[in-house]
Symmetry: C2
Subunit: 142 residues, 2 copies
């Protein structure tokens, strides 16, 4: 992967770090610096679950924007991602479930758009090999 020639023709690259630990900071050099903490205590800070959910939600809504545009629809889609931390000592997993609503469009049509987005969204592609990832079209939540 390190020698994958596709890195050289990338449209954009970024680097992120955590040099401390779960109780630490996730940061982008000369960019965002976020306090992190375990989801199992009440310390301030975000965590891997929330960061992954925000990444997926944003990538899905961005891809929906493109797909709505291609279908001559105004952009109204909204994305919610639920993440669970499950397991026990030395074997933990995340469950990831994304929900997309498309106000103004019936649920059958929304499901077709979501099926297209599931394949095209870059984060969705990365997760698609996992049985713990799922996505569905839902009725608008408001």
């Amino acid at each position: 992967m390190k020698n994958d020639p596709r890195w050289k023709t990338a449209l954009y690259t970024t680097e992120t770090y955590n040099e401390e630990g779960l109780e630490g900071h996730a940061f982008v050099p000369e960019g965002l610096n976020l306090q992190t903490s375990s989801p199992m205590n009440d310390h301030p800070g975000t965590n891997p679950e929330q960061l992954l959910g925000m990444s997926l939600s944003t990538c899905l809504v961005a891809t929906m924007q493109a797909v709505e545009h291609e279908h001559q629809l105004e952009h109204h889609a909204k994305v919610r991602t639920k993440i669970a931390y499950i397991g026990e000592r030395a074997h933990y997993e995340f469950l990831v479930h994304a929900q997309i609503c498309v106000p103004g469009v019936d649920l059958t049509t929304a499901a077709k758009l979501v099926a297209e987005v599931e394949k095209r969204c870059c984060v969705s592609q990365l997760l698609s090999g996992s049985p713990n990832y799922s996505i569905e079209a839902v009725e608008p939540w408001y």
Copy 2:
């Protein structure tokens, strides 16, 4: 997945949203609210690439903490994740490459710890089905 019984016994669950678009906000209800923007312009804001990288970096460093502890090592590991956005119209992908350094430990030993972490880190597990994800132990970067 919606009906997966494992959701009911989760140790922790969270919800994240983006209800606007790539130029919008990713947020956790009553939690973090981050401005997002396209990586292809200079608008302020983070993006799916950085959020995914920060999630993976934090999850990997947290898992390294546990693994170092199990091996009676002090925690010194640091994680850097590089993300690339590649492709062209209607087919885009992310490349994800994580690097872990373990100051005070030789590279062969570090590589063994990283191999263990690769399988145990929850975010790494989710990405492990993708040929676009890789991880390696590297010499300390400082």
